[in-house]
C-alpha cells in the first residue's frame, strides 16, 4: 500500500514538473510604448521584448497589426537581447515599430506578436491618448528615437509590467492645480498658497510657497516670512530641491518649483499676517539682486466655540492627542520623591504644559520636557513628554489624581478630553526620632530654624454653598431713554405753553374779527334799516353816518369822525381813496346832516338816504384803497 502511494506521488510530481516546465518554457513577452500621450504628427515607438531561457529557440517574426489613429511608419527593427534577472539569464529579441499619431483620439494599439515553436504568442495591447499638437517639438531622451542612437541589443529593461517612458521626457508635466489667472511678473515670481484662510487658535495652517520662473536666475538672498503670530514648523527637509513641474500663469507657461512649505499654528485671534517669502535673484533680464516677494497671506483666526468647552481647556490646544503616564516608584519613604512622566502623542499644536492635579501636601516640581515633533504626511505629529518630580509631604496612601488634556479637534469639530489616572502611591510613615534626639531637634529648631510665618493663616473659611445674591439692577435710563426721560418734562412744558399761546392768539383773533370796522359798518347799516322801519329819521341818519365812518376806517384806516367835513375830502384822497368816492362821501355826510335837522323829512328821502348809504359803504369797502391798506 505504501509502495503504491510512493509511486502515485512520484507520478504526480513528474506530471506537475512537466507542466510547470511547459509553462515556464513559454516566451516572456513585454510591450512598451515611448509615450502614452503622443501629439498629433509626433512619432512614437512600440517595443516588444520576447525572452526565453538560454538554449531554446529564439522567438521570431514579430508582427504588429495597424491600428486606427496611428500609422506604422517603420519597423520592425529587431535586435538581440539578453537580460539577467535574479541571477537567471534570459535571451530573446527586441522588436521596435515606429508609429505616427494621426488625429486626437484614444487609440488601442493591438498587441504585437512573435512566432515561437510554431505558435504565435502575443504581448500586451497598449492604450494611448493622442493629443492636439502644442506646436512645440518635444525633445525625447528615448535613445532609440534619436538618429544613430543605440539599438536594443544587450541588457534591456527589467520586466514587471507595462512601463511608460513619460518620466524620461525632459519637460515636466503641466500641473493644473498651480495654474494662475494672472502672472505678477513675466520672468519669475513667488506665489504663496495656504490650505485654509480661517482657523482657530492653535489649528495648523499649511502655507506653500512656489517659485514660478521662465528664465534662468540665481538666488542671491532669501528672507523667510515673519509669521510673528504663529508657531512655525518647516515641512520640507531640503527646501528648494523639490521636483520642477510646469504651470500656466497669465497665459504663459512657467517652470514651478516648491520653494518652501511651512506649517503654522496661530497663537492669537484676529486677522494674522503670514508675511512674504522674499528672494533676491540675479539673472539676465531682471538684473542683479532683483527682489521678488510672495503675497502676504492673511489668516482669520478665531477661538474655538465657547459652547461645550470643557473646563481646563487652554486656548491653543488644538489637534488630536492621547495621553499616557508612568509613575514610579509606587512606594516611597516619607518626604521622598517619585517620577511622573506624562506623554502626549498625536498631531496638532502640542500643549506647552499640562494641568496637574496639584493639592496641598503634594509638590510638583517643574517638568523636564522632551519631544519629537515634526512633519508626518503633511501634518505636524509626534509626541511631547513631561517628566515631573513629585514630592509628597504626607504619609499613607496618596491618590495622585488625574491629568486631563482637553483639546479641540478641528477634524471632528468638537472638544475631546484625553485623561490619564495617575493612581495611588504608598508613602511610608515618618520616622519618629528618639526622645533625646527629638528634644535636641526641638531646642535647635527653637533657636535657629524658626518656621516662616503663614501670612494667610487667618484667612476666612471658604463657602460651601451659594448664598443669596441679587445682580445689580440695570441702569435706569439705558440708551436714548436717558435723553427722553430728562428732556420730556421741559418739552412737555414747552408744548403746553405753546398750546396756551396759540389758544390765546386764536381767541384774540376771533375777538378782533367781531369788532372790525367792516363788521361795525354792516351792523350800522342794519341799525339804519331797523330805524327806518321804526320811522325814526334821526336814528337812520346817525346809523348811516356811523356806517360811513366805519367803512372809511376799514378802507383807509382813517379816523374820519374827527375830521371836519370840509377837510375830509382831501384827507380821504391822501389816504388813497378814489376821488369820486371822496366826493360822494362828503356829499352824503352833508345830506345826513341836512336830513337829521329837517323836520319835514319824509319817508322817501329817508329811504333814498339809506339806499345811497348802503351803496356807498359797499363801494368804499370794495375800493382799491382798502385792498392796498
Amino acid at each position: 500500500m505504501s509502495a503504491l502511494r510512493f509511486v502515485s506521488a512520484c507520478t504526480a510530481a513528474v506530471i506537475i514538473a512537466s507542466a510547470s516546465r511547459v509553462v515556464l518554457a513559454e516566451p516572456q513577452l513585454k510591450t512598451r510604448v515611448s509615450t502614452t500621450r503622443p501629439q498629433v504628427g509626433e512619432p512614437f515607438t512600440i517595443q516588444l521584448s520576447a525572452l526565453v531561457s538560454p538554449g531554446e529557440h529564439i522567438p521570431g517574426d514579430p508582427v504588429l497589426k495597424p491600428s486606427r489613429g496611428a500609422t506604422i511608419m517603420g519597423g520592425p527593427s529587431v535586435g538581440q537581447s539578453m537580460v539577467v534577472m535574479g541571477g537567471v539569464a534570459k535571451v530573446g529579441i527586441d522588436a521596435t515599430w515606429q508609429l505616427v499619431a494621426n488625429a486626437p483620439a484614444k487609440v488601442k494599439i493591438p498587441a504585437p506578436t512573435v512566432l515561437w515553436a510554431g505558435r504565435r504568442f502575443a504581448g500586451q495591447s497598449i492604450d494611448v491618448e493622442i493629443v492636439q499638437s502644442s506646436g512645440k517639438p518635444r525633445r525625447s531622451t528615448n535613445p532609440f528615437l534619436l538618429p544613430g542612437g543605440p539599438g536594443f541589443g544587450g541588457f534591456g529593461f527589467p520586466f514587471g509590467g507595462l512601463d511608460s517612458f513619460e518620466a524620461e521626457e525632459s519637460l515636466p508635466a503641466i500641473d493644473g492645480n498651480l495654474e494662475l489667472r494672472t502672472a505678477p511678473d513675466p520672468h519669475l515670481f513667488v506665489h504663496a498658497r495656504a490650505d485654509k484662510k480661517t482657523a482657530v487658535v492653535g489649528e495648523q495652517v499649511t502655507v506653500t510657497f512656489y517659485l514660478y520662473q521662465r528664465i534662468s536666475a540665481s538666488v542671491e538672498d532669501r528672507r523667510d516670512p515673519p509669521a510673528a503670530d504663529f508657531l512655525r514648523y518647516s515641512m520640507l527637509a531640503n527646501p528648494g530641491t523639490e521636483p520642477i513641474v510646469r504651470a500656466k500663469a497669465g497665459g504663459q507657461t512657467y517652470d514651478v518649483r516648491m520653494a518652501d512649505r511651512i506649517a503654522l499654528f496661530p497663537v492669537r485671534t484676529g486677522d494674522l499676517h503670514v508675511g512674504s517669502l522674499q528672494f533676491a535673484f540675479t539673472g539676465r533680464p531682471i538684473g542683479r539682486r532683483a527682489l521678488r516677494a510672495s503675497e502676504d497671506i492673511v489668516i482669520r483666526v478665531t477661538e474655538p466655540p465657547r459652547a461645550g468647552r470643557p473646563s481646563g481647556y487652554v486656548l491653543g490646544d488644538v489637534g488630536r492627542f492621547s495621553l499616557t503616564a508612568n509613575v514610579e516608584p509606587r512606594r516611597i519613604p516619607f518626604g521622598g520623591t517619585l517620577a511622573v512622566t506624562a506623554r502626549v502623542s498625536g498631531n496638532g499644536n502640542f500643549p506647552q504644559s499640562l494641568t496637574l492635579p496639584e493639592r496641598a501636601g503634594v509638590e510638583w516640581l517643574d517638568p523636564e520636557k522632551r519631544e519629537s515633533i515634526g512633519p508626518q504626511g503633511g501634518i505636524i505629529a509626534g509626541y511631547r513628554s513631561f517628566g515631573y518630580v513629585v514630592r509628597i509631604k504626607e504619609s499613607g496612601t496618596v491618590n495622585l489624581g488625574k491629568i486631563d488634556l482637553p483639546h479641540w479637534d478641528p477634524a471632528s469639530r468638537k472638544y475631546l478630553v484625553s485623561s490619564v489616572d495617575l493612581g495611588k502611591v504608598d508613602v511610608l510613615p515618618e520616622k519618629v526620632p528618639s526622645p533625646p534626639l527629638a528634644a535636641a531637634l526641638t531646642a535647635g529648631a527653637d533657636t535657629t530654624d524658626a518656621k516662616p510665618i503663614d501670612a494667610f493663616a487667618n484667612m476666612p473659611a471658604h463657602r460651601s454653598a451659594l448664598g443669596s445674591y441679587q445682580p445689580p439692577p440695570s441702569p435706569l435710563f439705558e440708551g436714548p431713554r436717558l435723553f427722553v426721560a430728562l428732556g420730556a418734562p421741559p418739552i412737555a412744558y414747552a408744548l403746553f405753553s405753546a398750546s396756551l399761546a396759540g389758544a390765546r392768539r386764536i381767541r384774540l383773533r376771533r375777538t378782533a374779527a367781531t369788532v372790525s370796522p367792516e363788521r361795525l359798518a354792516k351792523t350800522a347799516l342794519e341799525d339804519a334799516d331797523r330805524a327806518r322801519a321804526n320811522g325814526d329819521a334821526k336814528a337812520v341818519c346817525s346809523a348811516i353816518e356811523r356806517a360811513l365812518h366805519h367803512a372809511l376806517k376799514a378802507s383807509t384806516n382813517l379816523e374820519s369822525r374827527g375830521i371836519l367835513v370840509d377837510e375830509l375830502e382831501d384827507a380821504l384822497e391822501n389816504a388813497g381813496l378814489a376821488e369820486d368816492l371822496c366826493t360822494r362821501v362828503t356829499k352824503l355826510l352833508e345830506e345826513v346832516s341836512a336830513l337829521r335837522f329837517d323836520p319835514d323829512a319824509n319817508d322817501a328821502s329817508v329811504d333814498e338816504l339809506v339806499r345811497q348809504g348802503r351803496s356807498l359803504v359797499r363801494d368804499i369797502l370794495d375800493s382799491p384803497a382798502r385792498d392796498q391798506g
Binding site: 494641568t355 451659594l466 430728562l486 418734562p489
Partner: protein
C-alpha cells in the same frame, strides 16, 4: 371641497404653531436649568476641592465658572481662596496674589458688605506690600483724579435719578410761575432757576458715569508689576503698576489694553490684567 379644507388646514397650522411654541419654551427652560445645574455643580466641585486641599482642581473649576459668565460673589470669593491655597502650598505662580485680589475685589463689587472678602483682600494686599518691601520697593499709593472721584461719589443710577428730578422740578417751577397766586408764583420763580442749575450739574455727571460704565471696566493687575507704554509702544517711565492694584481698563488693541491708574494712563499687556465683573 376646498371650502371645507381651508378651516381644517388653518386649525392644523395653528396646532402645529402652538406645539412648536410649547416645545421651544420647554427646550429653552431645559437649557436654562441645565446651565444652572452645571454652574452649581462646578461650584460644588470647586468648593469640595478647596476643602480637600486640591487647589488646582478648585482653581480650574472656579475659572471655568468665570469663563461661563457665571457671576456670584461666593464663587468669586472661593476663587480667591483657591489662589490663596496655592500660595500657601508654595506652588504659587507669578500673579497669583493679583488673581486672588481680583477675586476678592470682584466679590466686594457684587456684595459690598462682605466682611470676609474685605478682610481677605486686606491680607492679600498686605502680602503684596510685604513682598515688594522685601525687594526694596516702596508701597505705592495713587489717588484717582477729581473727575473720577466726583463721578464715583454716587452710582450712575443715582445721578440719573437726580438729573431726572431736577428736570421735573424745573418744569414744576415754570408752572408755578404762571399761577396768579402770589405765594406760588414766587415759589416758582425760585424753584425753576434752582432746579435748572441742579440739572446743569447732574446731567453731565450722569453722562460721565454712563461713559465710564460703557467704555471702561474695573480690573486688577495680575502680574508682579507692569510698566505702562504709550500709543507707539514706548515705555512711559515712572513707577510700574504693582500687583493687585485696581486699575480702570479701557480699549483693547491687539495684545495691549489701555489702563488708567490714578492720574496715569497708558497701555499694558492684556494678559497682565484681570477684568472684574460687573
Amino acid at each position: 371641497m376646498s371650502g371645507s379644507r381651508t378651516p381644517v388646514k388653518a386649525l392644523l397650522r395653528g396646532a402645529v404653531s402652538v406645539g412648536m411654541f410649547v416645545l421651544t419654551a420647554f427646550a429653552m427652560e431645559g437649557m436654562a436649568i441645565a446651565d444652572e445645574r452645571s454652574s452649581e455643580t462646578l461650584f460644588r466641585e470647586g468648593s469640595d476641592a478647596i476643602a480637600k486641599g486640591e487647589y488646582a482642581v478648585a482653581i480650574e473649576r472656579f475659572e471655568a465658572l468665570s469663563d461661563m459668565g457665571f457671576a456670584h460673589p461666593d464663587a468669586s470669593y472661593n476663587r480667591g481662596l483657591a489662589y490663596v491655597a496655592r500660595l500657601r502650598a508654595g506652588a504659587d505662580r507669578p500673579g497669583d496674589l493679583g488673581r486672588a485680589a481680583a477675586a476678592f475685589e470682584e466679590t466686594l463689587r457684587m456684595r459690598p458688605d462682605d466682611l470676609d472678602a474685605d478682610r481677605a483682600l486686606d491680607v492679600v494686599r498686605a502680602e503684596v506690600t510685604k513682598r515688594r518691601a522685601r525687594r526694596g520697593k516702596d508701597a505705592t499709593t495713587v489717588r484717582p483724579t477729581l473727575d473720577r472721584v466726583v463721578v464715583g461719589l454716587l452710582s450712575e443710577r443715582t445721578w440719573s435719578l437726580f438729573a431726572f428730578a431736577s428736570s421735573m422740578l424745573f418744569v414744576v417751577g415754570l408752572f408755578l410761575r404762571r399761577i396768579p397766586s402770589n405765594g406760588l408764583s414766587v415759589a416758582g420763580r425760585v424753584l425753576a432757576p434752582t432746579a435748572f442749575v441742579f440739572f446743569c450739574v447732574f446731567f453731565p455727571l450722569t453722562l460721565g458715569a454712563r461713559a465710564l460704565r460703557s467704555s471702561t471696566r474695573a480690573a486688577v493687575i495680575v502680574a508682579s508689576e507692569v510698566h505702562l507704554v504709550d500709543d507707539t509702544g514706548t515705555a512711559k517711565g515712572g513707577d510700574p503698576i504693582p500687583e493687585a492694584q485696581w486699575v480702570e481698563a479701557g480699549e483693547l488693541r491687539g495684545a495691549l489694553i489701555h489702563v488708567r491708574w490714578g492720574a496715569t494712563e497708558g497701555w499694558i499687556p492684556a494678559g497682565s490684567v484681570r477684568l472684574l465683573y460687573p
